[in-house]
Symmetry: D3
Subunit: 340 residues, 6 copies
Amino acid sequence: MGKVVTFGEIMLRLATPHKQRVAQTSSFDAHYGGSEANVAVALAGYGFDVSYVSRVPDNALGKAVDMELRKYGVNTRDLVFGGDRLGIYFLEPGVGCRPSQVIYDRDASAFATLEQGQIDWDKAFDGAEWFHFTGISPAVSEEACATTFEAVKAAKERGLKISMDLNYRAKLWNWGKSAEEIMPQLVEYCDVVLGNEEHVRTILGVEVDRQEGETQQEYYKNICDAMAKRFPANKQIVLTIRRGDSASHNYVSGVLWDEGTYVVAPEYSVSDIVDRVGGGDSTMGGLIAGLIKFDDPQKAINFAVASGALKHTVHGDFNIATFEEVEGLMNGQNPGRVSR
Amino acid sequence: MGKVVTFGEIMLRLATPHKQRVAQTSSFDAHYGGSEANVAVALAGYGFDVSYVSRVPDNALGKAVDMELRKYGVNTRDLVFGGDRLGIYFLEPGVGCRPSQVIYDRDASAFATLEQGQIDWDKAFDGAEWFHFTGISPAVSEEACATTFEAVKAAKERGLKISMDLNYRAKLWNWGKSAEEIMPQLVEYCDVVLGNEEHVRTILGVEVDRQEGETQQEYYKNICDAMAKRFPANKQIVLTIRRGDSASHNYVSGVLWDEGTYVVAPEYSVSDIVDRVGGGDSTMGGLIAGLIKFDDPQKAINFAVASGALKHTVHGDFNIATFEEVEGLMNGQNPGRVSR
Amino acid sequence: MGKVVTFGEIMLRLATPHKQRVAQTSSFDAHYGGSEANVAVALAGYGFDVSYVSRVPDNALGKAVDMELRKYGVNTRDLVFGGDRLGIYFLEPGVGCRPSQVIYDRDASAFATLEQGQIDWDKAFDGAEWFHFTGISPAVSEEACATTFEAVKAAKERGLKISMDLNYRAKLWNWGKSAEEIMPQLVEYCDVVLGNEEHVRTILGVEVDRQEGETQQEYYKNICDAMAKRFPANKQIVLTIRRGDSASHNYVSGVLWDEGTYVVAPEYSVSDIVDRVGGGDSTMGGLIAGLIKFDDPQKAINFAVASGALKHTVHGDFNIATFEEVEGLMNGQNPGRVSR
Amino acid sequence: MGKVVTFGEIMLRLATPHKQRVAQTSSFDAHYGGSEANVAVALAGYGFDVSYVSRVPDNALGKAVDMELRKYGVNTRDLVFGGDRLGIYFLEPGVGCRPSQVIYDRDASAFATLEQGQIDWDKAFDGAEWFHFTGISPAVSEEACATTFEAVKAAKERGLKISMDLNYRAKLWNWGKSAEEIMPQLVEYCDVVLGNEEHVRTILGVEVDRQEGETQQEYYKNICDAMAKRFPANKQIVLTIRRGDSASHNYVSGVLWDEGTYVVAPEYSVSDIVDRVGGGDSTMGGLIAGLIKFDDPQKAINFAVASGALKHTVHGDFNIATFEEVEGLMNGQNPGRVSR
Amino acid sequence: MGKVVTFGEIMLRLATPHKQRVAQTSSFDAHYGGSEANVAVALAGYGFDVSYVSRVPDNALGKAVDMELRKYGVNTRDLVFGGDRLGIYFLEPGVGCRPSQVIYDRDASAFATLEQGQIDWDKAFDGAEWFHFTGISPAVSEEACATTFEAVKAAKERGLKISMDLNYRAKLWNWGKSAEEIMPQLVEYCDVVLGNEEHVRTILGVEVDRQEGETQQEYYKNICDAMAKRFPANKQIVLTIRRGDSASHNYVSGVLWDEGTYVVAPEYSVSDIVDRVGGGDSTMGGLIAGLIKFDDPQKAINFAVASGALKHTVHGDFNIATFEEVEGLMNGQNPGRVSR
Amino acid sequence: MGKVVTFGEIMLRLATPHKQRVAQTSSFDAHYGGSEANVAVALAGYGFDVSYVSRVPDNALGKAVDMELRKYGVNTRDLVFGGDRLGIYFLEPGVGCRPSQVIYDRDASAFATLEQGQIDWDKAFDGAEWFHFTGISPAVSEEACATTFEAVKAAKERGLKISMDLNYRAKLWNWGKSAEEIMPQLVEYCDVVLGNEEHVRTILGVEVDRQEGETQQEYYKNICDAMAKRFPANKQIVLTIRRGDSASHNYVSGVLWDEGTYVVAPEYSVSDIVDRVGGGDSTMGGLIAGLIKFDDPQKAINFAVASGALKHTVHGDFNIATFEEVEGLMNGQNPGRVSR
């Protein structure tokens, strides 16, 4: 299998430690993360050759991003240095009945000011077979949107498989155009699309009447069918499912429509959540890995959901896990036993 | 709305960090707290003009108390400096099947040696509309008991609304008189009283036979009716309810009798408890806020209980939260979602 | 009651803090522990005169072992200093759906190279009434196995009561002989044996056909009967039970066969697990304490299981608890209440 | 004495802990600070009525700024909430032969986008006698520069005493005009000016030929005389002196020209530096305090320099110290003795 | 050599971590210490059989004292449990030009309320050859003073060698009698006395005119001679010397008058001070060790001063060091080399 | 310039934090380091293409080594996974008058059991121009010694430049042969040798009579001349110099003999030492960089010594620094100034 290339923004994440509120803290835990970098790290952990393309400032923080990605096995040869600042987000992690809160401080970042032509896609896609991006990049700024289209088109021209995580963030879309206008254009290029039911409906406009007596699974299958009809390029469609009413305990699952075959993953109870940010990205990384490694849609979606579930036990945006660990969870190994 | 004034003892709380036992620890987490200060902080967080009256020593610790209260928006103009020491309590927080343990070291504190006349109630109550105190103050020492009566009478004379949290602590009453002797006299002055069923029964002597087949809610209503009859000044009576058999997971609720109207709050499951000390005080703060802000007993008690529940997610005695956050929880916002 | 003597290996345990993965950590929490030392500490906490016999290197780490044991009230007079290194194990504690992982680094330790004759059993057993060891010691090395037999025989000669925790660790048995060969020989010397159903079956070869419709308790009783028949010296046999599918939440229980009487402990839900390593050792310590203090098999097994459950709330290998705390849990005191 | 008002930008300072490099750290220590806020905190600690005027975003970070200032006794009634982000600076504290490094990330901050008219100077200066600002504010942005002039003129109109710390930061001046153009205009309004020799020379253009054989003190006196001639409004001029070639050990001093009287402070050796950021601001705060409290230029400059020296022992931008502590240092109390 | 017994108060020391000021800290580092316990720990580290007599409360803190002392090899068999609270002192460690500050909170402690007869001196002195106490105990309370006399007389009766560290603390003497009245009576019982020149002069009234041209060493010799004349029981007199004007760097030395022989220790530069509290106690412990182990006054005083110097590198009150480490320092081993 | 390849053992370093003694600590700071890996990291920081060859176990610790090296820019393609354990060393960092102490626990490590033929030198040296090793590798075990010779010969055959740091560690040489026997054989292969005067004399037997009146520099020049005569292959010889009598403050310098030219570096005062382990390795890395980048022996040795000095300010074995930072120090930039 050739290289997977992911593209997007990576930020410094500053989180209050030990469940403190911002008003109380005298320090912030520092991690680096962003949806597409998180996918890259997950894939590197699962043994893939993966490269990450982005732009970070040429200062100690930009260099730390490079170091952290290299540490986790991601190729950073195509990371571009430039711009004024690294995007930041502050995180106050929730617990129990208190929700997590995020303060974005990412305007005018190195990535948001990235211009077309600054990335050498020929070099970046050399040896690549898969390109992954998300709906965050076009939301960040007009320049980032234009570069996203540039990337997607370059990938298409070279015949790469293309995957997208919708990852709709309402607050980010304020540079002039709307998600409803841009996102469907991007989805049209994609082989693989991952999203949740709400975003498919509101952003992509793929709405299906839910029939009385219909199970959620039947309803989700109908959405996938409608998606596939609306976006004929889409060969694999994943809808992720998360429910639960506590910041410390959720249930996660997902469904996969694979060229007409429809499979449903088991639901994982994720309790005692250490860090839920990046859970969806780990699902996405698991999906790419699962689709490549298994010739079996059921195993692919199971691996994806288990990958997402396992992320909730790891601090930071990145899922630090091996293929074998996810397989263990997917195959029902009891986490209540000490592995010694 | 005019100022709310609270009066009582504030202590240095020294808690073992990270669920350590006292024998293991090489440090103690430091917070400042006391039932009435906790109510003041909750009210300040909810946007009220609130002032705290107490006595602390004129050393670095007393000054830290002043600083910490000012930080959280409490007016400390009437904090008196004097005495020899700040009361201390050591806390070994429980987890799972291990209960929390408290060691009091509060004898001869600046508050316990506070004498009548040391506080200028004219100044303290200037612009005030509400006075809050608890059953802890009269328990601390003979002097503190006398000053509590002094305060309550001064408040009454000025026509302030008076609220009391019974907060019965058996171990503290050892200066000569009993809670059963003193507490009913104080309750007689109060417009608003909060307590639990056990304390109403044992300390105030308000006992009601529970009928066979009677629900808990009917039984609690009967207690409130009996309270109102025994203490005609009481216009609002709250009984708080806590159940559960783990130090990390409780269920909390409460009922409000408001001049004859009886309403019951929904029960909140508080899991993954970060810190349960101060939960009752946050309920009390929420009750005062709810009674003032809402013209609706149901909303008032719901806000009070949600305020108490949310406290369990915050380190320290203080509930650091906004009115909007408590409203969110009260209105069913899903804490399982990241607010970004 | 005379002294209890325990014998085995103690190691430096290096655990990633705050649920970090090894790849993330920049420090390791340090504790000292080993199955038999853990039993000794539990017994010291319950008020017993207990002595620990082992071999540690004559360097700062060996001295730290001595200090830590003395701190928790264990007599270390018979701790022998010598050898090249202290055994180490690295622990990555699990959480939620991620299992705990252990990396052993104990080869060629001071204990593994302990030779017969290096311990003065006359001195070690002076004043002793009970000797406890586990199935780990004979697994460590040929020398340690020989010294274990030396110890058991010396105890038998002096008429001490002998207890053994099977504690089968498959990965350790690689010095030439198998557990199946050695362990039954050691069990033959024992008055008290603790293990789980799987180890009794696979290592001791005590297999009982499970009948259709038979309850687990009936099945476990049959195993105990078969054990007692196969090993006539065994007067008390305990089978421990642990179930659950999360690293943060288990259910623990156990059964005791006491010279023909068969009793079953209630099941404890251990949620919000702080540290599960040493849980079985604390059960063993509680069993010895329970058998000595109570003249009642039901109380003995209840105390043992409560002791094991409580351990899950304490960091490190050691259970730091008093007899009264375990009794409180065993008698149904509500851990949801603050003890003040 | 009436109120002192200071005006400028306050930022979140994120510093690597324990002398770590940025590449190594997994957390940042969080403090809030800015030159003028630091002066305000120093003055509050010395018992002055002081108010701080600035603009911070209406989010958890802006609120934390408010809390932190209130905690240290600064009046924040005139803190304006608005704008998109709080300015940030990253600090890698130096040690020994490694210099401290700062990464500014303050573009487009709430302060930088502050517009004329957003601050109600009538309200802000009500009851005030002294206004303090620095050369950082006009450097930040065109808007901030305009508002600085607005503030200075408003203060002049109301007859306030005006002080300025030159605080020249070359990297900040990039919005169009130069420091050489703007700064002299601001200095013309000032009663009190503090700076170092280099900045007086290069930015204000006050250059004096150094004569052969002239001592540093004679040379500095000549500079002051030239300053006074060039800027007739200046009644007190301070030149600060810092020397040393290690990040952990410096020597600090200063001279004061007070309406013709010229005095030199003793030099303090500041070793084992905990945090040198804010040292100059603490000197400035000490100068204002010294000029007001002492009718003696020598005592004023001695207090100022001692105040600056003491700051090096305190983490964060703020000097947390009392008037008595600075006096102790100024009067030669031995810091080698434990005060008990 | 027989057992050394020390007697006095041990407290919980709560120190701000990482050079923070009390106003900044959110935790306190916890150590247990007291002058006489510190001497005991030093002696245990040097290989002596040493026992500590005191009174601590029967709660988790009192038990932690017991544990900590046992850990460091001190016999606690004669530690009495009782009373209401453990004495506390808060420490804000100084650095550079900021002095350390202590807040005592030790009134009404278990030790201060210790009454005559509560300690069984027959048992405590069984097998003992040396008794050590300090001038702190008689200062604490009338009861503690009486018990100190009880102890000293009991030691004298049994023929023990008696040593005293004057350790004059002006703030503690407020129970009615003065140090000047009590201390000389206690010194009369002593074989060995350690103090500094100021205390010998002001408290014991041993004043010697300093002659013009006299060296400090000649002057100190004259003081020793005068002491020996005034207190004929004194066989060894040590005057300790500390100078320096930074909280991080001191010079320490001392002189010993040994039955007429007068020797002067070299001066140690103690830089980069980690913790200076307990330095004098470690000197005292080193003195006892030196007098016993060496038949050479010069070596004895050198060992004492080196022991005191080394303490400055260790956190907490206790000097955790071996005889060999002190000898190394005393013999000029280069601490600039890594011992590997 | 082609790739630099370094070869040797890397260990887990476990150091007590915050100047604690081993007996006090409840955690160890974890770093990975070894002399040759440290050189590799220094060179990567200075912008070189550098590869590290070693053997680490195939477990989480071995993987962490790989990650950490990649993070700092070292190519780990030729890192071999295998063997049973990662070598460990415990470090108790010294301070002031207390020396640092090291406990080695490296027997039977993955490196010590590395056998000839396990490393593919053709692959490892592909594209390489320089090979660096130290005198530690042949000391570790017979197998490691044999593989070191294998490596040196392979490098020689391919015409690589070869450098060696003598790094004599007396305690390690216990597998049968002596350093005196092996080391000279290795030095014969080297173009560049770094060591100190003592090791050159005692291990290599290069002894020169020091003449009366001769300066240290003349003496050192004579040693270099004798070295060059005894080992004709040596083209550059460096003698490092370290002096000072405190664990927190040293003076470092060095001399370079470069094919007959003799130059002396200035002496750096390294105060407030953060971590001195790896200082020599950073000097070595700086030497390789200096010899390659500068065509000037004086600049080369100055860069080397500055590189070593700067390391003392960085936690861990690795020197995390850029070429520009070392140049700054070498060129006299004042570290007392904040770089902003």
